[in-house]
Symmetry: D3
Subunit: 334 residues, 6 copies
């Protein structure tokens, strides 16, 4: 079990643990002698490393992206820490827990899944109820669904992020399900649970999170409809129109063609799902961004994708004892 | 009190009631004799009318836009109903109830207002609490706030629409207020209540709903900030930063510059308010559109602004006894 | 078999044939007597019709959209022709040939299909070859593929249009297949044949051409991927990556998200297919538009979708005997 | 009074003067000893500085952004100058002139203000005349108005820039005021003077120029309308419509929603103000950019915001003795 | 010489004068008898006309777009005037003055031209001075330049409009030419005079104003550069770079690619010309629009291209005796 | 003749050859001694170089952009190669072959030109035939046409690239010329040959490829029309309309105003030319990008302009012996 994490390391310390190797590069000193530079990565960050000895021999034993066991000492060079590697050998992927190397949700994954299944059991429409059961009783799907991130960057970009985002959406649907009459709550809940299932195949998330081939070539919307169609095909008598409006929830949940939806929302349920999805993605992205910044500064740095600074405030604006915003950094409550 | 409404009229009936006169136009028959055509409008619709006799005398007594008392008979001409006017005289605006002539909310306005005030009393931040009280204790504001529409077209485009939309937003805020930690609920609720107050001056809504001069020249966002600033100026020690983030909720609630917000949302509260506002506006616009169409057709006609058809479905997709969507036409529950 | 077509009709003639009834509307004359107006449609156009007698009885026997047998006489009213109906009764849909009522390709459908199959047999990749065979040996698919239009408006908006467009694309691929090295011609040809298959379900084309429910809710891109996936599932050992790049050809063939492709072209084959598809669609749309206009005018009228006038020229620019452009109106050569 | 400015410094010189400290960063040498790097900034530029001795003690005495008195020697390191600091202590902000540390207009601020007041006195409309007087007799406003920049980057991004830009606009208005009939010159002049007043609060400009909280959260358009409304409230009988069209000049002066105006120009005066504002901003931005570049190169470098290179020419195109462009670098004439 | 204009005609009057015939259409009465409808157009408007007798004979003598001498009587039909034609024959185009049939500038064309030439003579750069002389001494160019409109719709869309717009731009350039230093006034003035010369060929303006073939296929920017290049080729030793920056003024004067400029303004002179051109076009378009509307209404109707209503005001905002806006309807002063 | 190219150089080797000098920069060592850094460039790449001795003397003899003869030794510094210069003197531009210093097509330029001329001789329209002959018999034009690149970046950005791109387009036109009837093949071929001729003056391509003054100020579309107009002026009786539609092919070949075409395609020939031009440019750009990347990686790196990764595939998807894609790296076949 991994004990030493990048973020803990200080100049002068010795290291003997497993990391993901990245950015492997062979170079030469002025005297022509080779040396090797690389990055050592785990879920807490990355650190430059350099191999001065046995360079060729060590270099042959691993490729960029591999897990490696590294022994060495942390030094400081021009103000940044750097590990001088004494020993390096490949590590067996089966012996490592991917969650040590990739950022992961802070919530309990099994508990979130239980919660989602419990909510899905409240769906009264028999067809939808059986469809959800078919997904949750499919162990291959469930394994991926528990691990998958919801994005490469921006929001929920960590293991378990998809499940966390899905549960959040579903709970928002519950919260407002009685607000508008004329909404098919069963349909909306089912759509909420399934809207992003394509993401289990859109990303690869072994030693780092990236798009998969299918993700880049097909998009999770198309993948999701395929997955839904296959599952529906295993059920008896699933009504055609119900399949259509359910697929439409997946197809249209990005709202605009420009955001990847081949068709915009054309049912009330699709409109609601689209806004709740955007709300959850945006709020979570901004909260994640705020939390990674200096807690004392009133403004964040500039957010390149959202193209603005965010304001956290200087003052405690509350004049009551309880101070509402004071709980802000405890994380989201599920 | 008005008893005869346009939508009730049938060919052959006699009419003696008050309407708004519109589209007044003087024309001539082939023999040179003048006649007058106009539209008679009330909240249920409009009907063509024609004056064949005493044309000049009648024409002098009123202008387009006036309330008029009309006596005459309904006829059918080329498949549409037309009122042949026998007598027409101006009506005293003080004797009429504007809600008979303009479309109005189907909800009880006083009840909605009570509900909103009650919610506002749950705000614990003293400054915000006193600010809201200052608005609700201002009879000139309250009178307008109870009457104003929320739009000229699209959504809540009727008397009381602003109040209805505001209450809906505030209840959505309540529904999700515990979902994300770190949100200043008092601030968000206050922003929800005040975000559209500029609309009380953006529209004119005496004999018909249209933009006011101020509405077209300044926009309700700018008007709203002015109103808020004036009210704050009447309070003691209202904190500067609190005033700033509250104004920001008004400034940014349209989300994008392209939609009229000079600055985009830069606080978590502003992001949430923006999405809930869009959600409520869009859902209400689509529901209104769907309800105005043939209830038996699976698709609506083409919506020119939203650029799509909407699907209402052919089948009853539910397989349970209760049938969720069956309540769809009872209207929204507050 | 239908003999009388709308475009042949002249004032004074008697009619006894089958048409599609549209725009059915009940109205009343000044004396209160009812009459019925409708449009009679076939593939050559539409004509107003009016029923003065037995109005209620006739009205009950048919709905808008039905095939009806009509007897009556053509008259002229305010400069346009109008049929005065003497007799009208529903016609049995099984007794009619849809191609009499909907615009259809001028080419021989079976010949086009043979040609396409012949081209598909030149595909040497075994997997792709077997996949194409599976489609062309599926009679349900082939029946739809021979009938489907390629669009509701703009280009190939007639029965057989999809086949005509597909064949055109495939022949363009053949024409340039040796131009760039490094292109997988088999893949590109297969993608060309299958890129629009989703259109067989995107449209309904019984008595008129319109989008189907699935077409509006899912888009032919999503439908096409589903159809492809299902057919691949019936084959042995179809390689995963080959399935992926083939689906990508469907997913990306509109080029931009804004035009409905969830992902843009990311392979050389996808880039080529995208441009050839646009080329064929645009050229055909403009040629169709030009041919429907006054042949002697140098400019067409304004094209609302493409937002311009098109120039056909005043002069015969050729100075040679053969005059290249002289063949222009003979139609496209396959 | 500051005598040594960054742009004068040469390798080998001694320094003893006040600067703004920025980018303060603590680092460690290989041997573990700490050192401090920072930037020393004044209105002429910035220079790297390094503290090798008494690092901890010195570091505690100041924060980034502070004024500091620095003693040390200029050295050259890898081709750039660097100050080796021997002594560093905080300086009293009240003893410094902000204009030594921030870029400032090259014009005489009081003279520009006099000129503007003189022009404002030509306004004949009593209400507008009294309004302008109220602003220019408000010392708090005048103090800020004389100091404020007109932008953070791009154009007039220096102390006094707002006044310079305002005077330029007003003189352009005068220059073309007789060109179009039907223009209310008094209104246009007043709008020109007041259009950007919100900028006095949109920026902070003590030790460096940046957006203020109010600037980022409200935008100078909204701030400007608030300021105008408050001043109008102090006057008797200011006509409502005049207030409206004047506020509209502020609201609409960016021309498009996309540029931050909630409503586009809807009066002739607003259209003119919008174009003159853009003209002055763009010409000044490009002139500033050109002047900062190599005077002998025919083209500037690439302008990232305006997305182009600008051409200054190679030849002296004039064939007359006087050579019009020869005066180009003397700066703008007021 | 034409004496009777469409806008003067009243029901009952006899007409005997020349008009442009448009919208010629042959129709049939219920009894099968043919009749002819057309529009009679002159610079003051258009009127429906109908030929009941000698229909075929009259129809053969003219085509739509021809000048025709018409005799007949004005009648009123369904509230609009209509001319019942008794006699109609083609008129000799050489006998008519196009300005009677097309809207034309209200200014004196020769006076405007003199003014422009006079200004051009102030250009001191010999090359530019000789270039301008070459244009103004070219009678074929001058004839077209005096007649051409500046647009088909929107602004200066009448005979002489190009000259009027050009003179306005040049006078604006003069008004601000001393405002910014470093501007080559000679170059800017020459560019102002020549920027739209391509419009003399972009439009046809014989019996009505429309785009010419060259206008639609090449755009006046490209045509203008060609015209300039040809004129420069007739001069000795015109400097290459001067030709380049002058052509650039034409190429870039629409500011953005989206508005038809292949390159954006890249010199200070080009930036200024672009804004003054937009200013003059927009102000003139809006003034023309305002003047065509009800002078008493505070708002215009909706302007479809500019997508807004324009505000003319209700009140006389001036509090001085002279009332600045009172001159508004006297037209622009040159 | 140049023998040593940058891409061949290895640490330790001696160099004595000609390069283009770039990025010349004078700096100082800690001890104050000056040294000179520069880049040495040829068609295969660039290498850092440093002059430690005789710095001032050497520096005076050349300017950035000059050809220089360099003697020195290749060393390695921080992992990159660097030439330590012992001797440096300017080289005579007349003694060098520009193609050694700029990237150039791999095809035989004369052969490509012969091929293009041969195709142009198949044009039967006498006017077009004589026009093409006039271009190909103009040695000044032909010299530039053989050298010019087709772009600065992206596609065919090397000497001979314009000719290569033009030949490719013309061959595509030939390949599909019989596909659509009604196309004037002679016109389309001539347009294909001439569409980009303006590029011979849009770029400068002596010691490096960049935009020329004319290119930046006028755009190759405008330059091309000028060149065409001048050549047409040398011919007898070239028909006006033919000149117009031919110029239109140049004017519109970028398809949209946003891409630099002042008018969009308005003839069938223009539509086809636009798509084939885009197809060739895009395919070539992507192929060039793919070939510059790691041949074994399934995906390219991110393409910043086209904003995506490109997929080359992992598997050999072919199941046939011949393996179509296997020829992929042999380059395009003409």
């Amino acid at each position: 079990m991994k004990k030493t994490f990048v973020e803990m390391l200080k100049a002068g310390e010795s290291v003997d643990d497993i990391f993901v190797a990245r950015g492997k590069q062979l170079a030469h000193k002025k005297d022509g002698a080779p040396y090797l530079t690389l990055s050592l990565v785990d879920r807490t960050g990355d650190m430059k490393a350099v191999v001065w000895e046995h360079v060729q021999a060590i270099s042959k034993t691993f490729a960029a992206g591999d897990y490696v066991r590294v022994k060495g000492k942390v030094t400081e060079y021009k103000g940044t820490l750097q590990l001088v590697v004494r020993h390096l050998e490949p590590a067996d992927p089966d012996q490592v827990d991917a969650r040590d190397f990739l950022p992961a949700t802070e919530r309990d994954v099994d508990q979130m899944l239980d919660r989602l299944i419990q909510i899905s059991q409240a769906v009264q429409n028999e067809h939808l109820s059986r469809l959800l059961a078919a997904f949750f009783e499919d162990p291959a799907f469930v394994d991926l669904f528990k691990m998958a991130p919801a994005a490469k960057k921006m929001h929920h970009a960590y293991l378990g992020g998809l499940l966390e985002h899905t549960l959040s959406i579903v709970r928002l649907i519950q919260a407002i399900s009685t607000h508008y009459k004329g909404i098919d709550t069963d349909l909306l809940l089912t759509g909420g649970i399934l809207h992003d299932i394509g993401k289990v195949h859109e990303f690869s998330y072994e030693t780092h999170i990236d798009y998969s081939d299918a993700g880049r070539l097909l998009n999770h919307i198309v993948i999701g409809v395929e997955m839904l169609e296959k599952k529906i095909a295993t059920l008896h008598d699933f009504p055609d129109e119900l399949a259509l409006v359910l697929k439409h929830l997946i197809v249209s949940h990005h709202g605009l063609r420009d955001f990847g939806s081949p068709e915009p929302p054309k049912t009330l349920e699709a409109i609601i799902l689209n806004y709740l999805d955007e709300l959850d993605a945006k709020v979570t992205a901004v909260r994640t961004f705020i939390e990674a910044e200096d807690p004392d500064a009133p403004w964040t740095s500039y957010h390149r994708v959202l193209e603005r600074f965010f304001f956290k405030g200087k003052a405690d604006n509350s004049s009551t004892v309880e101070g509402h915003r004071s709980e802000a950094k405890e994380g989201r409550k599920l």
